[in-house]
């Protein structure tokens, strides 16, 4: 799938939107604070909003081009949309909502029985949307959008109205959907953990522009992210012998009790400010986890110096300018990242 979208728009309040994005990722994420222009892009793609100047194409199909006077109405774009609020039709049952989409589907390979099975909608069919929980509603909305066999599934903050306990559940269903049908997805979120789990490529929005894009690790990049610190996410593999230990490359980390569990994969979040650098493997310190690595780049920003270290995956470490000076930090340098066990946390 190749999606290209460019959009320029001046809002009456003075806010300007100037977005260019091109992606080949099957699961693409848009990240940014509210008011950064993410939702405008979704509405542009969905065909419910017109920008001053815009061009949108999926593959070689152009659905909107203000210069050429092309505007495909939403019902003929074949894009499924799941909004923040599920927008289920209140006058229809769950089955009625699904039928509504299935009857209007133009061909496509996604079958009703499969959708009901995968999203576990079977028990909900006779219910009215008003009697469903937030997570159930969002599941129905995802199923309804899927039944049109969309060329692209737009997910605009689909987890924002879902309570914390059901977020992971809905995310898991989205992952299953992505695997089962390879539906291209565009996920909009202001939550990093959603995007780290689901997106292959992330566009970071700030003030109506794309501040940067790349793999999910861009979410930890201090050159793109504002704020004093950035959050690194370590993808670890749990030891088979001890649930409190996990491997990262050749190094072994001790996990805090909150991350003791059973899953093979462990995602551990650690702030750039909670990692120390040491020129030699540290002995005589309380820090248990020492990860050998190589400096990739050194980025002074504000009152700190951010150092990108490759320890088998890339980690951002924030140090003081004086520490950076004294250690003579430079790209290519070998050193160790010291990570306190209790500075490791869960995702989201």
């Amino acid at each position: 799938m190749h999606l290209s979208c460019s959009c320029r728009h001046a809002y009456p309040g003075g806010f300007r939107l100037d977005i260019e994005l091109e992606t080949d990722a099957w699961r693409c994420g848009l990240y940014g604070p509210s008011g950064s222009g993410k939702s405008s892009i979704v509405r542009l793609l969905a065909g419910v909003w017109r920008a001053d100047a815009a061009r949108v194409a999926i593959g070689d199909r152009v659905v909107c081009d203000t210069d050429a006077g092309v505007w495909v109405p939403p019902e003929r774009r074949g894009f499924g949309v799941v909004f923040q609020d599920p927008h289920l039709f209140p006058h229809l049952t769950v089955a009625g909502n699904l039928d509504y989409a299935a009857r209007r589907a133009r061909g496509g390979s996604i079958r009703r029985a499969e959708v009901e099975d995968l999203l576990r909608l079977g028990d909900l069919l006779d219910r009215r949307p008003g009697s469903l929980s937030g997570g159930e509603r969002q599941r129905v909305a995802i199923g309804r959008a899927l039944l049109t066999s969309p060329a692209l599934l737009l997910l605009d903050e689909p987890l924002a109205a879902v309570d914390a306990g059901h977020r992971v559940e809905v995310l898991t269903y989205l992952e299953r959907v992505a695997l089962a049908w390879r539906v291209p997805m565009l996920l909009v979120s202001h939550d990093q953990s959603d995007l780290r789990r689901l997106a292959q490529e992330v566009f970071v929005f700030r003030d109506g522009r794309v501040a940067g894009h790349g793999g999910p690790e861009i979410l930890s990049d201090p050159r793109v992210q504002p704020g004093e610190q950035v959050t690194n996410v370590l993808r670890l593999e749990r030891s088979e012998d001890d649930p409190g230990l996990a491997r990262l490359g050749s190094a072994v980390l001790q996990l805090p009790p909150s991350l003791h569990g059973s899953g093979r994969r462990v995602y551990a979040a650690v702030s750039s400010g909670a990692i120390a650098l040491s020129a030699a493997p540290a002995t005589d310190v309380s820090i248990r986890n020492s990860l050998p690595g190589v400096v990739r780049s050194v980025v002074p920003r504000g009152g700190a110096v951010f150092v990108l270290v490759d320890v088998g995956q890339e980690l951002w470490v924030a140090v003081t300018p004086s520490a950076a000076d004294e250690m003579g930090l430079h790209a290519g340098q070998s050193l160790c990242c010291l990570v306190k066990t209790h500075s490791l946390g869960g995702l989201g």
């Binding site: 969905a46 419910v48 939403p74 074949g78 949309v81 909004f83 039709f89 209140p90 509504y100 309804r144």
Partner: protein, 223 residues
């Protein structure tokens, strides 16, 4: 008496039957249309609500009377409006139209536009969306608008007497019958029965309308 009541109900039902469909379309357009010229349309539509019904009747007579702008032409087609029950229907429809537009406009304004956007994204065209989402979600408001228009039609007097006259058995509805009765010496008592009937019908219509609106509020989805 039965004849008068029957004619009145017939005129009111027909007036709503003719006026409600365009009122639904007009109400929808006014609820969704965001054009600056909207207020002009709204003013024109609401005018019969505030101008004296006699003036409405006069204008109808100018247009639909035998020597009127359209009246002669319509009569050559075999459609006689002035001093016919059809004139009474036209008068009732015109006078109750703004009430029905207002009710349907409010009903459509209460339909979440994002539901309409969702329908479009699922492949429904604009007309499909109107028929399958907007209309079903607004139907209670539309029905209550129809009931309101019906009640207003029952009581129509000024415009009716201008365009349709007061012909027993043809255009004499309850309000006109009350007027005629009172004109007769000693007719005050005879009019009382008709007055009671009139109040009763209007009260039932209002109660139905109110009941529908209450149900609508109760069933409204929590957003």
């Amino acid at each position: 008496m039965a004849e008068v009541v029957g004619l009145t109900l017939w005129v009111a039902v027909t007036a709503v039957g003719i006026g409600l469909p365009p009122a639904v379309v007009g109400g929808y357009l006014l609820a969704r249309w965001r054009h600056p010229a909207r207020w002009v349309v709204e003013t024109v539509v609401n005018l019969p609500l505030v101008i004296p019904p006699v003036v409405t009747g006069y204008l109808l007579l100018v247009v639909f009377g035998r020597g009127g702008l359209l009246g002669g032409w319509l009569e050559s087609l075999g459609l006689r409006i002035a001093f016919d029950w059809k004139g009474a229907v036209l008068a009732a429809a015109v006078v109750s139209f703004p009430l029905m537009v207002r009710a349907t406009r409010i009903a459509f304004a209460g339909v979440d536009q994002r539901l309409e956007a969702a329908a479009r994204s699922l492949g429904a065209g604009p007309l499909d969306t109107f028929l399958t989402v907007s209309l079903p979600l607004a139907w209670r408001g539309i029905v209550s608008g129809g009931v309101l228009g019906f009640a207003r039609s029952l009581g129509e007097f000024g415009a009716t007497i201008m365009i349709a006259g007061n012909i027993p058995g043809v255009t004499r509805t309850i309000p006109l019958a009350i007027y005629s009765e009172v004109q007769r010496p000693g007719g005050l008592a005879g009019a009382g029965v008709l007055v009671g009937l009139s109040i009763g019908l209007a009260a039932v219509a209002l109660a139905v309308s109110e009941w529908l609106e209450r149900r609508e509020r109760r069933d409204a989805p929590v957003v």
